[in-house]
């Protein structure tokens, strides 16, 4: 074994999975640099769910893949369970990967179409020499049950399952080795709404039961808000705002977070009339704007924002934002004011966070 259990633990002991000043660069055509992630620092505690939100090109998926060591970071450190894994070799990574697993976005391309489900879920078990064939089959049956699939699913192939069922299979495979942490990259974005909720509930259930840490990457802020303890909002390769889920959504400080919140269509008659619509599109990560990366699209940008880059500043416990004028742009509409839309049976309306005198919702 190349792992050294006796070596001293590094990093913040609070966190199970940690990224410190992580920077990822790709080579773009013409020898230019594409700054995919520049830079992010994050930590996920055991049993905690952290949501990483952003639009395409924000670098959120690159963060996920780099944490898995599928991309090599240009700078920074990745720490998992007290061990610096940034530069471990493929072989040294094996015991790490056993404890840190991933669920991908598209269950149509992440499962080999010719393999039986038994083989798909059993693969990590075989790779990590879990035990005899009988023992592996027993574990596969147990996993199928955990993710809510019938035992006879083991003998079928992926094409015989719907998208939601395939994602259950992907979750079962990720859980096979009893990981301590799970990274899920857009785990439900290819699924229908009624099925999305099934998979999200499954992830939450399993997390509670198995006590795993969860890093969820998604573009849907409403969805991330539902499942996360903490949220990190990314724009053009860097975090612009982070904090407890209800605070980021209930009292957004960065103009981009406010715009993202107001951009989410809500099933409310007459919705959308009070929305902040950003002009333009996210700039290229090859040619980034100077100063604040968001300033060309920012409704409240001033001269200073064009030249000076705002630091990610601590504004409260676990609460950070990178904007000189944080909190100056209030949300344009009250997302808690959906009085016309009835609540689903058995559900109560959440108290408004930060209405006068109230604290964190829930």
């Amino acid at each position: 074994m190349t792992m050294q259990p006796s070596s001293p633990r590094v990093g913040n002991p609070e966190f199970l999975l940690e990224a410190k000043d992580l920077k990822v660069t790709f080579r773009a055509p013409g020898g230019k640099k594409l700054h995919a992630v520049d830079t992010i620092t994050l930590g996920v505690r055991p049993r905690e769910t952290v949501g990483l939100v952003g639009e395409s090109g924000s670098g959120k998926s690159t963060v996920a893949l780099t944490l898995m060591r599928a991309h090599e970071p240009e700078g920074g450190q990745i720490i998992f369970d007290g061990q610096d894994v940034t530069h471990l070799t493929y072989k040294e990574l094996m015991p790490v990967r056993r404890r840190l697993q991933m669920v991908f976005q598209d269950p149509y391309s992440s499962l080999d179409p010719r393999w039986s489900i038994r083989r798909v879920i059993g693969e990590p078990l075989r790779a990590h020499k879990y035990g005899s064939r009988a023992k592996i089959n027993e574990r596969v049956a147990q996993l199928l049950q955990q993710v809510g699939l019938p035992p006879d699913a083991a003998d079928r192939v992926p094409s015989q399952f719907s998208g939601g069922q395939r994602q259950r299979i992907a979750v079962a495979r990720a859980l096979a080795l009893e990981p301590k942490a799970l990274i899920a990259d857009e785990p439900v974005s290819s699924l229908d709404v009624s099925i999305q909720a099934q998979i999200i509930n499954l992830l939450r259930d399993l997390q509670e039961r198995l006590g795993i840490a969860l890093l969820v990457i998604a573009h849907d802020l409403a969805l991330v808000h539902q499942i996360s303890d903490r949220i990190i909002v990314m724009y053009l390769g860097e975090p612009v705002e982070e904090g407890p889920a209800d605070e980021v959504v209930g009292k957004p400080q960065h103009p981009y977070t406010v715009a993202l919140l107001s951009a989410t269509p809500v099933p409310e008659p007459g919705g959308g009339s009070k929305r902040i619509v950003l002009t333009g599109e996210p700039p290229s990560p090859i040619y980034r704007p100077t100063g604040c990366r968001f300033h060309p699209r920012c409704p409240i940008a001033r001269d200073r924002c064009k030249t000076e880059k705002p630091p990610l500043k601590e504004i409260g416990p676990n609460r950070r934002v990178s904007c000189f004028y944080a909190g100056e742009m209030p949300p344009p509409r009250d997302l808690w004011a959906l009085e016309n839309v009835p609540l689903p049976p058995g559900v109560e309306r959440a108290p408004r966070p930060f209405a006068v005198g109230s604290s964190r919702a829930n």
Binding site: S162, V193, S194, Q196, D220, A222, P267, L338
Partner: protein, 336 residues
Amino acid sequence: MTAIQEAAATGRSVATADTILAVKDVVVEFPRPRQNVGFRAVNGVTFNLNRGETLGLVGESGSGKSMTALSLLGIVPAPGKIVEGSISLRGRRIDNLGLKEMRTIRGKDIGMVFQDPMTGLNPVRSVGAQLTESVMRHQNVTRAEAEEIAFRALDQVSIPSPRDRLKAFPHELSGGLRQRVMISLALINHPEVIIADEATTALDATIQAQILDLFRLRLTKATMIIITHDMGVAAEICDRIAVMYAGRIVETGTIAEVLSNPRHPYTVGLLAAVPRFDIRRPKLVPIPGVPPTAEDIIRGCAFKSRCKFAQAKCDERPPLTHLGGRLASCWFPRGA
């Protein structure tokens, strides 16, 4: 009260002099291999679209919403075909027209915006060439006039520096701009009806917001069918919605009616499954089970296997019936 107002107020799709598109009992069927019962992707869909009205067809994958749109344009992919029902545009049957006649209707009378602008646009021709081609095919104008119309069309959908963009190829534009080009292409011949199939689904949230604003603010007088899986999108730009499940409309009415007081258990479930900021619950409320697939043969109510209110009666198919102002097909409707 005008007919539109009345239709909007009651959610009823009454055919009037203002009716642009009348769809009646349309069935789109695909043969099943080795079986004599075909798969009905669209199974008896009826609605009327009045002038200036925006109708949302909402449903999940496989509900038949896109196939309904394709049937309106006469481009149902083979071996599927319309086997029953009628489609009339301003009183003229168009479901039985030949290829050539249909071609004069597409683009001229009915404009279409597809989900993926990369497949909806020709990758090897400039934006300007595609726009002018469409103008010259349907309007009696010179090339120079057509180019001017193309310029104005891009300007109309708020594309910055439209003159330069005419020379651009689709791959040179961002996703948001490409979708704007698609919309200008759909609008350029002033069609009677615009059909937008998941026009904002592939876009990022802030870009989707821009396109929704375009629909909401610039196309207020247009007659449109919006096909979407997203109740939020429908709520923003539609006057009426029709919720589809397994090839049928299960509930239809005004946006306000259906969203504030959904009656069909599927509509209730769909609304409950959407993550909302105002509810932070320990768990989302999914609809159990999976929707029927093309292999399933449906008897009675298609939703019954997933419905917690289903009873023996549901083995019999519930008809679309008036419930207050709207129509819903359920023996045991929710709400009141």
